[in-house]
């Protein structure tokens, strides 16, 4: 393993530790009594005391932190107060929904953004460029949840092609896929607006470089030059944004799941907030933060795969 990878890995692990400290601190150290938050103001003193004991609130802070981390490392996030089952079980049950939404959204984002971005770059300064860039500027300004509502209005309320929301489970794969079409499109359209712009400017930068001229002098078609020569070289800035976007997509699922009433982690977070289920919220926030940090770490690793020059330098 190279020095570069070693340094990045250590940085990644350090960030994870720091993230866990922040999450724990906000949820536990800030003024307020979790037991009171959970049970409400009309709870009896006995009940509060029992819950405090149950939550381990009487233990010293450090011990609670390490207890939480040690548990989390082996997949034990404590017990949900509202659902009365281990938090890990809740997560395992709902993770597939969120992950498939995020992954499908990412794939669709990449397809749309790379096509549009490369198209705009190859039509630089022409109407095709202006139109796509205007649309992407608009796309950046549209909130995902409003786009979702518009999609539902059009495709579910008016045309009745697709269900407006809800999810009946994976047992009927066709119905499941149909339920996920609109959420995926809503997630991807907004994200691809940003990525298309990055792709375009990065591709334009590469198209000004000499090797693009070499490729043209080699008699290659415009399509081949764009996809085989320009795009790979334009990928480094694109991958940076994709890393951040995957993070945005994963947190975007929190919103989208609530718009479409999908039983994923995002819905779970909101149910937990409504139920004042602090251990579940804490575990879920930590999980989302870990996904965000991991996505950025993976991007760092991808750089090395994309660009052989980095390997030599590090």
């Amino acid at each position: 393993m190279s020095y570069f990878l070693l340094r990045r890995t250590i940085g990644f692990l350090a960030t994870l530790v720091a993230v866990s400290v922040v999450v724990f601190a906000v949820m536990n150290v800030l003024p307020g009594d979790p037991a009171l938050t959970i049970l409400g103001l009309d709870a009896t003193d006995d009940a509060l005391a029992a819950l405090r004991d149950d939550l381990g609130l009487n233990d010293p802070l450090l011990a609670r932190y390490f207890g939480w981390v040690a548990g989390a490392l082996v997949g034990d996030f404590g017990t949900s107060h509202s659902f009365r089952v281990p938090v890990a079980e809740l997560i395992a049950e709902r993770l597939p929904m969120t992950l498939s939404l995020a992954v499908a959204g990412m794939i669709l984002t990449l397809i749309i953004a790379l096509t549009v971005g490369i198209y705009a770059a190859s039509h630089h300064g022409k109407p095709g460029d202006w139109i796509t860039m205007f649309l992407s500027q608009l796309g950046i300004a549209i909130p995902a949840f409003w786009l979702s509502i518009l999609l539902v209005l059009l495709f579910a309320v008016n045309l009745r092609w697709l269900p407006p929301g809800g999810f009946a489970g994976w047992s009927d794969p066709v119905a499941a896929m149909r339920s996920l079409v609109l959420p995926t499109v809503a997630l991807a359209l907004v994200q691809s607006a940003v990525l298309a712009r990055v792709t375009r400017s990065s591709a334009l930068e590469v198209m000004r470089q000499d090797f693009t001229r070499t490729a043209r002098a080699s008699g290659f078609s415009q399509r081949r030059i764009l996809w085989r020569h320009v795009l790979p070289n334009a990928l480094v800035p694109i991958v940076t944004i994709v890393g951040m976007q995957f993070a945005a997509l994963v947190t975007g699922t929190i919103v989208i799941e609530n718009v479409f009433y999908l039983p994923g982690l995002g819905r779970l977070i909101f149910q937990s907030i409504a139920n004042r289920d602090l251990p579940t919220v804490q575990a879920l926030v930590m999980l989302f933060a870990v996904i965000v940090v991991t996505a950025n770490f993976v991007v760092d690793l991808l750089y090395v795969l994309i660009d052989p020059r980095l390997k030599a330098r590090t």
Binding site: Q209, F211, S221, Q222, H229, I306
Partner: protein, 321 residues
């Protein structure tokens, strides 16, 4: 056979190439000399069909008699690499940094000649040997940044030779290289031209390199070919005032000009500098910097005259009093 007859490349701000006429037959070695902005790269771009879209072309360009002046991009794609190929000044930036050089050189063979992976690889290896890259089987797995400047230029030459072109255009191929490497690359280009009976267009501002590499020469200034003829003759007895100035401004260690008292004389220079395209004179482009300038020079474009197709009013006047 590549033929250019009175080619003009016009941009909104002016003509980057004016009435250029040339003939390039198999095995010819033609040098094109001039400062930056003289139109020599535009001439090369014409031969490759790579003139910027914003330009309008007039005149006639033919390849084996087929008119290519206004040929579409997809027709040019059948010419490039297979009939005419080109190498550039900066061998580092001219190679795709993310590809192994072997794959880069193999790509045109696979795309244009339909070769399989193994066939292409064998051919790349043979080409690497031909252009003097030592240990080809190891080199072809390397990335451009792992090679030296001279080797990168050799890779680019191999890439240009991938589909056995009839014409190789080398645009300032040695400018970015060390002097001794530059000499070797120049000799390699000459050798390849001779052994393959391939025409070579050698573009440079370096008179010594052009003298070494070519048999014919065209001198360019401000988009005009001001003089052309056999290399030795043109450089030995330059006809056009610009060529004369260019040769006088050349530092020659063997014949360093000295004053009568033996002190070193300052190298003569052509007064002024190349004006930008939009400020060029309508007549002879050398107007304003010329020592033998006449009244008609600024407004009337001189007609190519004599065996060297020289474009100069003063000369015309001398020859036909």
């Amino acid at each position: 056979m590549f033929e250019m007859h009175e080619m003009t490349v016009r941009f909104s701000i002016g003509d980057a190439l004016r009435d250029a006429s040339l003939r390039i037959a198999p095995g010819d070695r033609l040098g094109i000399v001039g400062e930056s902005g003289s139109g020599k790269s535009m001439l090369a771009a014409c031969l490759m069909g790579m003139v910027p879209q914003s330009a309008t072309l007039s005149g006639r360009l033919t390849i084996d008699g087929t008119d290519m002046t206004h040929a579409a991009e997809d027709l040019w794609q059948t010419i490039r690499a297979r009939r005419a190929a080109m190498i550039f000044q900066e061998p580092m930036s001219a190679l795709n940094p993310l590809r192994r050089v072997g794959d880069t050189v193999a790509e045109p063979m696979r795309v244009h000649l339909g070769l399989g992976k193994a066939q292409a690889r064998a051919r790349v290896q043979a080409l690497f040997e031909e252009v003097g890259i030592p240990d080809p089987s190891a080199r072809l797995r390397m990335f451009p940044h792992e090679l030296s400047g001279g080797q990168r230029q050799r890779v680019l030459i191999a890439l240009a030779l991938a589909c056995d072109p009839e014409l190789l255009i080398a645009d300032e191929p040695t400018t970015a290289l060390d002097a001794n490497v530059a000499l070797k690359i120049t000799d390699l280009l000459v050798h390849l031209s001779q052994s393959r009976n391939m025409a070579l267009v050698f573009i440079s501002h370096d008179l010594a390199a052009v003298a070494r590499a070519t048999t014919e020469i065209a001198v360019m200034y401000g988009g005009d070919i001001v003089e052309r003829g056999p290399t030795a003759a043109v450089l030995g007895t330059p006809a056009h005032p610009y060529t004369q100035g260019l040769l006088a401004a050349r530092p020659d260690p063997r014949a360093m000009p000295r004053e009568a008292d033996g002190s070193r004389r300052r190298l003569p220079t052509i007064p002024g500098s190349v004006p930008p395209l939009q400020a060029m004179a309508k007549g002879c482009r050398f107007t304003g910097r010329c020592a033998v300038e006449r009244s008609e020079c600024a407004s009337v474009k001189p007609v190519p005259t004599g065996p060297r197709h020289t474009t100069c009013h003063a000369l015309l006047h001398e020859e036909t009093p």
